[in-house]
């Protein structure tokens, strides 16, 4: 899987807890941080309700299949 690098500044006490947890679980810091972020993002993703669903209606039913034609007008 493609990966990107980033730098994060953590509070001293967070870092101490993280290092201890990593030792206890036998995992690397990278592994633990990745797990934590993925779990957090997973919760956020599930919470999405996609507010744009059904917020409008037009008089035509085929606009999504002919976007170029309908972008030019025709209410």
């Amino acid at each position: 899987m493609e990966k990107d690098r980033t730098n994060v500044l953590l509070k001293k006490d967070t870092m101490i807890s993280l290092k201890n947890l990593a030792r206890y679980e036998g995992k690397s810091l990278t592994m633990l941080i990745t797990e934590a972020i993925e779990e957090y993002l997973g919760k956020k993703e599930r919470a999405k309700d996609f507010e744009i669903i059904g917020i409008g209606s037009s008089s035509k039913s085929d606009i999504s299949e002919n976007t170029s034609k309908y972008a030019k007008g025709g209410k």
Partner: protein, 140 residues
């Protein structure tokens, strides 16, 4: 898995009278847990155009609010635009427009060939770098 959400898919989500509305809603809800949805900025502009040309006022604003909240938006940089031009030149015989070349450049920079949309005939013969073709509304 990264999935590009194209204009026609965004529009189908918005318009409850569109024939692909239910298909779009079902697909995005089904894939919400395992996929990262990315909307190229160029698709937001085009969807706004469609909304303004075919729907009542107020929908555009609500649409923009919702997109900002629920989707990851990608903006084109100079490299993406330069790559779009290369792609246009490569597919000159197919008369590939800047819009579809830009989508292809985004796909390449995101290293994905997954795209959700209902008006993507122009991408059927296009191979983003690193892939044999796009996977349209495919199961990631």
């Amino acid at each position: 898995m990264i999935v590009i959400i194209e204009t026609s898919f965004l529009y189908a989500l918005v318009d409850k009278n569109d024939k692909n509305h239910k298909k779009a809603v079902d697909l995005i809800k089904e894939k919400a847990n395992g996929c990262t949805f990315v909307v190229p900025f160029i698709c937001i502009q085009k969807t706004c155009q469609l909304i303004n040309a075919n729907m009542a006022g107020g929908v555009e604003y609500a649409f923009l609010n919702g997109v900002l909240k629920d989707f990851n938006i990608e903006f084109a940089n100079h490299e993406d635009l330069a790559r779009s031009l290369e792609i246009m030149a490569r597919y000159e015989k197919e008369s590939l427009s800047f819009y579809y070349a830009c989508l292809t450049a985004f796909a390449e920079s995101l290293k994905t060939n997954l795209i959700f949309g209902f008006d993507l005939k122009n991408l059927e013969k296009i191979a983003p770098h690193g892939f044999k073709s796009f996977k349209l509304n495919a199961n990631p």
